[in-house]
Structures are given as structure tokens and as C-alpha cells.
């Protein structure tokens, strides 16, 4: 490739980068600036703070003064549910992942079991939401965090099983074999050797599960009314008779968006594998 042509290609590439970044970031940017705008500025064409409008913290303050309890409860519920679900899922998932990576099952073959776990992702939530509702109702668990922890564990566990399975497969089995020779049991070598070595993937899995449980909406909407409602339901319940109050909506949106996004950005490396659950060795 000639030098000149190379430069043209580079420039075109950067133009594409800029367009794509703008495309991806602008809605977030809009939410951020809207949350710092006075209501009067919201419907005016202003997008540059300090130049076109004077940013204010009013919305955030008013929002927390008027709806403080509702929002803190929402955030706390989201945190509890997401942590609960990801811990359960990763606990069960790393056990199963280890089993699938290290054992050859003869009755149900390994492949079939991996399929079976993966197929949970194909399951439409609409198919289980009604029985879940009836189940939780009869167990008197409606509007509790427990109900949502159980539901979300079920949905995010396939991620955990398959990410951990791949992780354990990559760990050399020799390390564990040495331990078995020294008299360690399978279980001991799992807890003392394999698990600590898989720590990075373990953390990444927790975070991916956390983000998915945090963002879940349909089940949260159906299984909670008030006490146990997470942030996704809190933002959905904020329509007003005076029309949409964008300046408040955006504060709440940001509260719901920021935590899982920040966490997810920290586990960049494992995301591809996590999302496709082993189908791409990326």
C-alpha cells in the first residue's frame, strides 16, 4: 500500500471512529446534561454546559429531597438482589463448571449438559413469569428481595456455568494431580487449588451476572410492588401527570445506568466470552 493511500485509509478510519463514538455516547451525554438543566432549559436547543445553559445541581437535590427514600430503597434493593443472585449463581456455576471441565459424565454426557445449561438462555422470560408469579404468591414471597434473587440466579447461572467451565478447562490439570498424589481429595483440590487460580474469571463472572441481574425488568415489575422494587422498576414508575419531567427522569436513569456500566468496563477482557458463553473463544 502506498504511503498516501495508507494515510487516506487512516483518516477514513478515524472518521468512522468519531461517528461511532458520537453515536454511542450522545444519548448518555444527553441524559447527563439534562439532569443538570433547569426545566426551562430542557426544551431549548442547548447542549453545551456553561456556554448555552447554566448547569445546576437543583434536580439532583430536589429529587433526593422529594423521593430520597424511594430512590435509596430502589438502589439498595438493586444492590441486594444483584449481589445475592450473582453470588448464588457463581457458587453453583463454578461447581458445575468445574464438574463439566474435569469429569467425563457417562449417564448424561458433558455436551448435553452444557447444552442444557445454555438452553436456559433461549428460554423466554414470558414463559416462566406467570408460573413464577403464582409460585411466589403461594409461598408468600411476592414483593420480597428473596423472590428476585431466586429468579435472577436462575437466569444468570448459565453464564456462570459456561464461563467457569472454560476457565477450569484452561487450568492445567497437573497442578491438581500433584495435590491428589499428596492425598488431597477432589473437593480439597477444587477449593484450594483450582478456585484460587480461577479468581480473575470468578470476579469477571460475578460482575457480568451482577450487571444482568441489576438490569432485569420484567420479573421485577411482576414480582414486586413497592418494598422490594429495584431501580429498574423505580424508574418505570415515574410517569407524571404534568407530562414527562425529563430533568428528574435523567437523574434516575443515570443512577440505574452507572453502577453496572462502571463494573462492566472493569472486566472488559472477559465480556466476549461471557456474553456468548463459550461459543467464541475470544
Amino acid at each position: 500500500m502506498s504511503k498516501k493511500r495508507h494515510r487516506i485509509v487512516e483518516t477514513l478510519l478515524w472518521i468512522v471512529v468519531v461517528i461511532v463514538v458520537l453515536w454511542v455516547v450522545s444519548p448518555f451525554y444527553w441524559a447527563v446534561i439534562t439532569s443538570f438543566k433547569k426545566p426551562a432549559d430542557v426544551f431549548r436547543l442547548s447542549s453545551i454546559p456553561w456556554v448555552q445553559f447554566r448547569p445546576t445541581l437543583n434536580n439532583w437535590q430536589t429529587e433526593f429531597n422529594q423521593r430520597g427514600p424511594e430512590i435509596t430503597r430502589g438502589l439498595l434493593n438493586s444492590v441486594t438482589i444483584a449481589i445475592g443472585a450473582s453470588v448464588f449463581a457463581v457458587f453453583l456455576g463454578s461447581l458445575a463448571g468445574y464438574g463439566l471441565a474435569r469429569h467425563r459424565y457417562t449417564k448424561w454426557r458433558n455436551q448435553s449438559m452444557s447444552f442444557w445449561f445454555l438452553s436456559q438462555r433461549f428460554l423466554p422470560p414470558a414463559a416462566t413469569v406467570i408460573p413464577f408469579f403464582l409460585l411466589m404468591k403461594s409461598l408468600k414471597l411476592l414483593d420480597t428481595q428473596i423472590a428476585l434473587i431466586l429468579v435472577n440466579t436462575t437466569f444468570v447461572m448459565p453464564f456462570a456455568v459456561l464461563i467457569m467451565r472454560d476457565m477450569f478447562k484452561e487450568l492445567p490439570v497437573e497442578l491438581e494431580e500433584a495435590a491428589w498424589v499428596d492425598g488431597c481429595s477432589r473437593w480439597q483440590s477444587f477449593v484450594r487449588i483450582a478456585l484460587p487460580l480461577a479468581a480473575p474469571a470468578l470476579v469477571a463472572t460475578v460482575i457480568i451476572c451482577f450487571a444482568f441481574a441489576w438490569n432485569e425488568f420484567l420479573f421485577a415489575l411482576v414480582l414486586t410492588y413497592k418494598k422490594a422494587s429495584p431501580m429498574t422498576v423505580v424508574i418505570a414508575g415515574t410517569e407524571h401527570t404534568q407530562g414527562v419531567q425529563f430533568w428528574y427522569v435523567s437523574t434516575r436513569l443515570l443512577l440505574a445506568i452507572i453502577p453496572p456500566t462502571i463494573l462492566a468496563l472493569t472486566v472488559q477482557k472477559y465480556i466476549v466470552r461471557g456474553l456468548t458463553m463459550g461459543a467464541v473463544k475470544g
Binding site: W30, Y105, A126, P131, G282
Partner: protein
């Protein structure tokens, strides 16, 4: 190695999934063929709920919208993702930062994105319409006209899921070794030929994965229409899941909703089967 001992590891997860998906699914099948009143099963209804489904024009309406949405969204996300992946499949400074930025939409709650969409697509001076005005186009009734609302729902979904297709396809492209390309370039000159006969066959399993996951996810969509358009205007953007939710948990017509849920389950499971058959070897 003792075989039986391995069961300890997989059994907890199997029991969990059995309790929380298989059991509910069986129960909901029972509900779908039963007569229900006040949340209690009172009799046998046979297949009447399923029969009713085929005569319900609202069901067909939601199915129609779901299909339109699925086709637009899956095609657009896959093509855009593939295009971007091809463009960025090279060693470039700053690519990592770019990739991180692109994953942001993936970790945003779809329901929150819907509300963000309400702000973006607002008819009077919303940023999208302002931009269109600068480009010399008229005001678009994004959320009040059925066709535009359909497009808005698709656009939010494309915005959220294109990064998914992009990142996975990029990973697929980067796992192809350079030697293969070098050999190909010597033999042929056209970029298209290389793409068609070298790149495409090599990334076909990855492309298949992306397509399948996107298809299945798109069929399940609920959050974005719920928050962006509330299924409106009228019922123009009501998806199957949305209708199931309304019938089952708003109108408490549990049997009918369960029957429709089974229909949706059949669709996604069919897609899943196709995927399994094709890519079995990936799960050795």
C-alpha cells in the same frame, strides 16, 4: 479417576434449574390447558386457549410487530456489527478504549434506554428532531405514528445490540491467523474475493452464534417497547411478551397468557435447536 464423585459438582446446579425452570414450565403448561378463576385451577379447558390464540386478531397484531421488529433489528445489528468489525480488524492505537466505550450500551438496562429514547425522540425539540432539522428534514412524529414508533423501537435496540455483534465478530476475526490472509492475498487481489472465500467461511460459526443469540433475544423483547412507547401508539408496538404480560398479569387471563407463552417458547426453542444442530462441536 472415580466417576461417581463428579456428580457432587453438577447436581446442585441441575437441581436449581430443575426447580426454577422445568417445574414452572410444566406448571404453566398445565395452566394453559386449564380453566382458571381467581388464580385457581377449576377445570380442564383442553386446547381451547391455543385455538383462541389463532382467532385473536390482537395476537396476530403483536406477532406481526414482533416479526417486523426481529427482522429489522437482527439484520441491522448483524450487518452494522460485521461492518464495524471488518473496519476495526487491525492493529490500531486506541482500539481498546473504543471497545470499552462500545460496551456501555450492553450494560445499560433496556428499560432505562427506553426512557432515554423518550427524551431523544421527543417530538418538540428533542435532539433527534433538532438534528434532522439541521439536515433540512421536517419534524418526525417518532412516538405518535405507528411506523415511526416501530422504527424508534428498532433504533434503540440496534443502538444497544450492535456493539454486541461488533465485539463478538471482532473477536472472531482476530482469531484468524495472519498467515491465512497473506496466502490469500498472494493468490487473489480483490478485497471482496478474500472476504467471500476466506474470511466469511472462517467466521461463519461466530456469525452463526451472533445471529442465533440476536434472534432469540429479539423475540423476547419487552422492556424497550414498555418504556419507550408503552406498546403504542394504540397497539402498534406491542410485542408478544408485552401482550402475554398484559393478558396474564394485568387482565389475569392466566390460561390464555400461558398458551401464548408456550407459542413463544416454541419459537425460541426452534431457533435454539437449529443452533445446536449446527454448532454442536463447540460444546464438546
Amino acid at each position: 479417576m472415580k466417576r461417581e464423585k463428579g456428580n457432587v459438582f453438577v447436581i446442585p446446579a441441575i437441581i436449581w434449574i430443575f426447580t426454577f425452570t422445568i417445574f414452572p414450565l410444566v406448571y404453566s403448561f398445565r395452566v394453559s390447558i386449564s380453566r382458571i378463576s381467581y388464580g385457581k385451577i377449576t377445570g380442564f379447558a383442553g386446547l381451547s386457549n391455543y385455538v383462541r390464540m389463532f382467532g385473536d386478531y390482537r395476537f396476530w397484531g403483536t406477532l406481526r410487530f414482533t416479526l417486523i421488529f426481529v427482522s429489522i433489528s437482527v439484520v441491522a445489528t448483524t450487518f452494522l456489527g460485521l461492518g464495524l468489525a471488518l473496519v476495526f480488524n487491525r492493529k490500531m492505537r486506541g482500539l481498546k478504549v473504543f471497545r470499552s466505550l462500545l460496551t456501555m450500551p450492553l450494560f445499560t438496562a433496556p428499560v432505562a434506554l427506553g426512557y432515554l429514547g423518550v427524551m431523544m425522540f421527543y417530538e418538540e425539540n428533542g435532539p433527534v428532531n433538532v438534528l434532522l432539522k439541521y439536515l433540512g428534514m421536517g419534524k418526525v412524529p417518532w412516538l405518535s405514528h405507528p411506523w415511526w414508533a416501530t422504527l424508534a423501537v428498532c433504533m434503540v435496540d440496534v443502538w444497544q445490540w450492535t456493539p454486541f455483534a461488533f465485539i463478538i465478530l471482532l473477536a472472531g476475526l482476530q482469531s484468524i491467523s495472519d498467515e491465512i490472509y497473506e496466502a490469500a492475498v498472494i493468490d487473489t487481489s480483490s478485497g471482496w474475493t478474500v472476504f467471500r472465500y476466506v474470511t466469511l467461511p472462517l467466521i461463519s460459526p461466530v456469525l452463526g452464534t451472533v445471529l442465533m443469540l440476536r434472534l432469540v433475544d429479539a423475540f423476547k423483547i419487552f422492556d424497550v417497547p414498555f418504556s419507550l412507547t408503552s406498546g403504542g401508539p394504540g397497539t402498534a408496538t406491542r410485542t408478544l411478551t408485552f401482550y402475554i404480560y398484559t393478558q396474564g398479569l394485568r387482565n389475569f387471563d392466566l390460561g390464555y397468557a400461558s398458551a401464548m407463552a408456550y407459542f413463544l417458547l416454541a419459537i425460541t426453542m426452534m431457533i435454539g435447536m437449529l443452533f445446536f444442530r449446527r454448532y454442536r462441536e463447540l460444546y464438546e
